[in-house]
Subunit: 332 residues, 6 copies
């Protein structure tokens, strides 16, 4: 080892041993494992991450496709240790599978890939909790369809944090970012009454959409009402109702649920929206629930971010959710 | 109709019928009517909008003159349907009269035009609720003088949301954006005790101004106090006191009342200010009160906005106020 | 007329007469006619404009789809009178046909629409000069295919201003923004030797692409060489060669040909590129040539613009081209 | 005085008298005195300000060194009169001593200068309350060491508002911005149990740091807990505990304690952080306490600010603290 | 001197002597003298600077009023020594008189102040070369009228660098920033044929304005023509023609003459405009001419600047002009 | 291989073979090799790259330390093939050694590391051409000292592209970014007459510095003079003079030599500076010269960049230089 001519450079064969020495105190990017140049041993993971970099399906131009990479770059700002709860996420073993393949011009092919990705996930390691980093909201329909394909008899419920119903007309828009929930209802993948949406706003959802929601029994709590009642109470109520009716609860977080002054990177966000600490508490509660089995985070366009505030919130959503999940394991 | 050569373009003579078909489900820009190329039938409108694009009267350079156009462009992001209240604003008939004429170099002439605009409004269709989109705060003095000119016997009260008293010295500054309330008091258009200002801050109003306020009986609640007492309670108290003393309450919203972190487009906004959801609730309460007869929204400089967050808040203020107004009609 | 109650507002029925009075002195937005609510009389127009707002086909996320609207908004900053040449573009009659219909998720359908738009244009008013506002460069292949469909026996040449060959592999990317020229060659719409590309850069085109270009006889002049020889001389030579071999010359301007320091809105632009005054001169020369029959302007993403510099350059390209076209008419 | 040839310019010898005439109504920049071209009479001041423009010691590149100048420029936006409390800060006599000398390349020399500055302050006018404008957090260790040098027998406590412990390893980083509290503990300047940190976050402090904190008895309240308990209650409790154990309480405000959506200028700020009005209340309470004898404000990088929102918050922190200090004097 | 207690602070009474010691090597801000707190001895100055912070007279909202302060702040980036010419500007004695008083709402009063400022300048120290920092172009009319008031028999010529004629209709706009040259012609302050404008663009001046220019004999060279002929040759020709017909040549530099890609801070700048090094050469040549007796720099809005590039160009214009002026003195 | 469960993900063990297949057509990031997890075989490389991320030594705060990483990220936008010269840089074997170790607080230690890095480079593989990515200009002094340490008898000359002399006083500033050339002269590492600086500006270098330059025989050509004479001619002359007097020519490119309108990321850049295509030509000529043996690129702060224009220029400088170097090899 003495003949390495660059004492002032990090010697490459020393880097690994240095890293393993500090195992007990990790940053998030040191903790989450990625696919190297070998097929890994799949067993033993608790959580799988999947990037879904599709935003060509957005009604307005969006660079939400850049979000998975930007979230990964932001991991290095976070510890695995959660001081608030005295709990270290590194007890979980997490594998980042990379990104679903994208076709440059054929969105439906990409959608098919997304569905297949979830189907493979459920086939090959169904014991893991998958977290998907979008992309826009169109991916949620494909992910849940992929799930259903492997578990055709499960009743699936959705806990949605969103400023919008996402129930717009499939015939007009195709499988775009305004239609995923309707897509799932009309394809009979889920039932409308098994959706609970928290954070909707006045002035950003038409009456026709509310009529559609009512007709199909979709449940919802507007942001104004949630603020009066208290976020935690609203989330607990929604989970209680869903747990009696479904086998699996899928959580979908559209980042435009946040107040636009706290999330400039979601152009469809609105003033008067949810605050970040409210959202973190909400997903942590959801993460604790034993029937909650997957989450996605969508519709964040990093090019519009200011000082990385939005992408840091997105990473925090993921970590708060996993905090809840750890708690669940403790309880069991 | 079959010989139109562009199947992939929107056929122009089909646009209108398409729009009328969806009457029941409107975006704000489809709902608000504008002056076409004919003088309209004035009767039958409930609300009139007026742009007042003057900001040359601002002490610091401001592009608040661009605000009316920017607010109009933002209408298309809003539905008329308010999910929070299950109420559709499109039951109201609203006419946008366009903008008051501006002189390039003669501010006093422009001020005269503003006064005359309000006087004409009150003469030709006094049954409508006028909402004015500023411009800077100097316009409020002219608008209320125009009102008074037609209704000389009315006692007018002002409910002001503002970080500042706007009582600065007329002799030093002329009719600028720091002086409108003093202008109205000194011209005996209103009485000081008929003004109630909510949202004032420590460190942004001199003692001399407070002394002037006290001497003329101007009422006020600082933001710090309003936060402790609760915004809704403060607004209700202010309205109760004003209703016993005046015939007409004019609401003026200086957008700098918002916290600067939620409104970068109002350079005179401060940290520690009002939050958007508090302001929306406040103007909705005001809109319900039967003596409230007009509102203006001022001092928003769109060039300093970030991600349109401030202009969306301004439009929301207008829509929340009209939500209250709809409620009032229901009650009657 | 005396009973109009708002002397300080612009009387709506007076606006038209005011505009017609100043016919001789127009801004570009007052000159270019748009489709109203009737199908117009198609005859009598010299130039047709078409917006092609497609940029989902871009390899990297792009908002070039917003460019047609942004260019239209910028028209009001330009006079029709060109002081440099003492020539008024308003002698031409120009019709803006609007935008080609876009499908939210099916790019190939949108491509079909674009082709059909050009085919309709050539069928119904072949006497006009079409100018297309993109969108990304994938549209050029569709536009020329639409032309060819109606004029199957015409030999079409391309004068291209571009930093790149745009000859990338169709099989890998599909009809994306890096492949339009190859698409046209492989579909035998044009011949490689009938393409002349000006402005290519070292380091931004692979050797494989140059080999492909050489094999198919594509002509090109790099920016470095054009700078040494003089832009006007290069353009005149290219036109002279093309005029002897083809019936129709189509001009395509990829705005990334400009130096990135003069065009931040084209992310694929490079340092060391063309300067705006060089490009304006180049397209004016092209516009004068009798075989030049169409032009498109592509790959400008307005969200990345700084102070509207790039969009103003795009409008200037269009007006410089029309200046050449006017000259041509004078010569005839 | 009549022969001054420029009636339209401000006559220089009149500026001072004009300013003195309005003594009773001052802006902050008119109130705070600066060193002129003479050594002043030191006695009679209540408060001394010191700029400490060092941020080369930051782990990530920071321009916090520009903060003292930017804060000074922002003074002119603030009145000395605090309307919330009907209290005028101008009863205090405040002297701005300027900035501590910086060496371009030798950080340890600059650190020595900072320590000496505080030592001189305590030697020559110990009756004043010093407020330091950083700079990054490394300065706090030097300032407190300077204090200790003059008052070796005092027990010093620290009330810290911070997202981080600032207890990182000195051996690895040297006296950087992540290590000041550890520096003070290891040099036995203070005891760990005499530090109370409010505003810490989960995910931004490693377990090793918490273990270090626990081992040395450092007290802390996370932001999540503070939000539940109420900020004012937390601050009062911390002061009560400290007052029984120490002689002097030093307040250090790391501006990254603020929520990143309210403070884009502190790159280490996080979502879910403290809101500005909570921080203003907290430091005002601290300012009232008789054992609180100094404060610093650190880690604000003005180059990342948006619309001056962060720098205005920093000035407000200083003025809120002085408001508390005035109250204290009233009580005595 | 040994009892100064802060060895690490700059001792205030030492600052002056330190500065005077380095007299031979100055930054521009150390060289230009400002009015202190005494009326100075007026004699002995070569150059006087005057800030004219008026931009309320601009047709579009402008913050050009902030330009004088921003230019002053940028002085510290420049040496007085011009290496290109081996010439030190500090041989000139320059006095900055400060800014002309502004009225908040009465533009005509401010215009009167500007005229009076120039009249006083010519009365009290006519031996100095005045340089005015605008403000918008409306100020040029007032400054030349003030000059004419004191020198009624002088024939005044104007060398104008501008993208526009600035000959718009006074009756429509009043004395705004689009009308100064027409204002001077119609008030018979100057003759049209004594104006030479360099840098005009096609598409940014209407035919009506060109007709007006031709009718009054205004001379001009478009940018396109100047680029072909060479800038220095054009300027020399213009000066030669003017020197035979007038007594005094006033240079006015509208910063929008620069290419918009080199000057984002002048929103009316255009692509294809003048480059900075061409403008610096042009004003240096003008500065050498013995009949050139004043210059103004107008229409730069610092809020739109990027990285201070435009304000640095404005300062460089002033210094290049003074370089010419020094040369002239050498020649005499 | 058939049992890999994710057909829509890139199979990790397939990535390498895919990459090797396309060897003949590379992007710059695919071509340049980096240190993997083994010590490589050092022989066989033509060029070595070294990141020197030090900017704490800058007089004004700079994030030029981030430049090496930002340049590396930008490689993927460039082909190795240079179409202008029909030459593929991939004939060269290039190794990126990574970054020189930085100490958080001890700049002199970091400087020592930099010197040692160059000394090691010259000891272990003196046959390679080193290119250093700064960092600020202080690194140049250390790099050349490291070179000299290994080759004590070589006479070293410097070809400098810079707006400034960089001859400021070492005693005042230490080894900062304003002093490297003086540092080298005073330490007798080089002789003043062996420095030739191209691109200096009037107004940005004091007379004292010119006097120092003259006294030590430093050669220079101002930008104004270079523009008149032609850049290529100036560079050739400088090389001719140096080749007769020295053994080794070191090229140092301070990116502030570029016009500020083409390089907002170099805050010390000025208007009237060099254009990118001029700089690219200049370094290509230098690269061809057989005595040119190293180059550095310094003083680019990526945080101030606009649309990556500056970082792309920096990468282009490196590639243009290597183009010249390839040519040289061809000639031999």
């Amino acid at each position: 080892m003495t003949d390495y001519p660059y004492p002032m450079l990090d010697r490459p064969d020393m880097i690994w041993s240095k890293q393993t020495n500090k195992k007990s105190d990790l940053k998030v990017h040191e903790w989450i494992e990625t696919l190297g140049d070998k097929v890994p041993d799949w067993s033993g993971y608790d959580v799988t991450l999947l990037g879904v970099p599709l935003s060509k399906s957005s009604i307005s131009t969006s660079a939400a496709c850049e979000n998975p990479e930007v979230m990964r770059r932001a991991w290095k700002s976070f510890e695995t240790y959660n001081l608030d709860e005295d709990l270290d996420l590194s007890v979980l073993k997490v594998l980042d599978l990379g990104n679903v393949k994208q076709h440059t011009t054929d969105i439906l092919q990409t959608h098919e890939n997304i569905k297949e990705a979830m189907a493979s996930l459920r086939t090959y390691h169904p014991h893991t909790l998958p977290i998907m980093m979008g992309g826009d909201h169109s991916i949620t329909a494909m992910l849940i369809k992929g799930w259903k394909q492997i578990h055709p008899d499960e009743r699936i419920g959705i806990l949605q944090f969103d400023t919008h119903f996402d129930l717009r007309d499939l015939k007009e828009l195709g499988p775009a970012n305004g239609t995923p929930i309707r897509n799932l209802i009309e394809s009979e993948t889920i039932k409308g009454k098994h959706v609970h949406n928290i954070g909707l706003h006045g002035f950003f959802n038409s009456r026709a959409l509310r009529d559609y929601a009512d007709k199909h029994g979709v449940c919802y709590t507007t942001m104004k009402k949630a603020r009066k009642q208290g976020m935690n109470s609203v989330v607990n109520e929604a989970l209680k109702k869903l747990e009696s009716e479904v086998d699996t609860i899928y959580v979908t977080v559209d980042m435009d649920v946040l107040d636009i002054t706290q999330n400039p990177a979601a152009p469809a966000a609105t003033p008067g929206g949810m605050y970040t600490h409210e959202l973190f508490d909400a997903v942590q509660i959801a993460g604790e629930h034993p029937k909650v089995k997957a989450m996605d985070i969508v519709c964040l366009d990093p090019r519009k971010d200011v000082g990385d505030m939005a992408v840091k919130s997105a990473v925090h959503v993921m970590l708060s959710f996993l905090t809840g999940y750890c708690r669940r394991s403790e309880d069991e």
